[in-house]
């Protein structure tokens, strides 16, 4: 009886993480791909110089951030992976999602801008209540939004 309870204690969160975590991930990727298409007109670069060369009307610091939970399946998969080494695919997709989401939020915070320059991405693990436990990963994207003087206003 006790062994059964112990087994359930360890497997239920992992199974839940596998089922719902995968669903959440697939849903998130669909949303990311759809929103990225809406923002192709707003380039975000890591350059320190501007892409355009018209007169600049306004520039401002913009940020976008997201905290994504690390589900128990991903945790278990990475623990197993650490035994043999190699790419930890479960974390690769998690961080990819977080970074793309942060950049999207960055763009969504300034929909009228013409471009975003000097974009930087920072990642920070969010510690859990127990030591050495990670509950989530935060990704912060920040850059400078550039608004050029509208051509119609110049003429």
């Amino acid at each position: 009886m006790e062994t059964l309870f112990l087994l359930a204690f360890w497997t239920v969160p992992i199974v839940l993480g596998y089922v719902f975590g995968r669903m959440a991930e697939a849903r998130h990727y669909r949303s990311i791909i759809a929103r990225e298409k809406n923002f192709v007109h707003l380039p975000a670069t890591s350059l320190r110089t501007l892409l355009g060369n018209g007169p600049v009307a306004r520039s401002e610091l913009v940020t976008g951030s997201v905290v994504i939970a690390v589900d128990h399946f991903k945790k278990a998969a990475s623990t197993l992976r650490a035994l043999v080494g190699g790419p930890v695919k479960s974390y690769e997709t998690l961080l990819d999602r977080a970074k793309r989401e942060a950049v999207l939020r960055l763009k969504e915070s300034c929909p009228g801008a013409h471009e975003i320059v000097n974009v930087r991405l920072e990642t920070m693990p969010i510690a859990g209540s127990q030591p050495r436990q990670v509950t989530g990963v935060e990704v912060l994207a920040y850059g400078t939004a550039i608004y050029y003087v509208e051509q119609s206003a110049v003429a």
Partner: protein, 113 residues
Amino acid sequence: MILSYENTAMLITNIETIPGQTITICHGVVSGSSVRSKHVGRDIMAGLKNMVGGELRGYTELLEESRAQATERMKAQATQMGANAIVNVRFATSSVAAGAAEIYVYGTAVTVG
């Protein structure tokens, strides 16, 4: 004590210049920091979210508030120096202790004209 300078217009960028304007005076480095811890309710919600995956919205908001406060403190310092813009701004974060995070923001206070 932190004075409120929220109504002051301060130009902030993370590139070396304010495009279209010239830097006339450089005042030096300004910074602002904010240390916040998450509360138990959010921790419990996060525990549930760890079962199913997805975004930890409570933490996202918490860190955003914290970053806004750090930026506000940096702006207050720049205003005290007589600057009207902050260039080359950087954000940094560190986990000070379990359950608390420090948000640090720094840049160079300048006067543009």
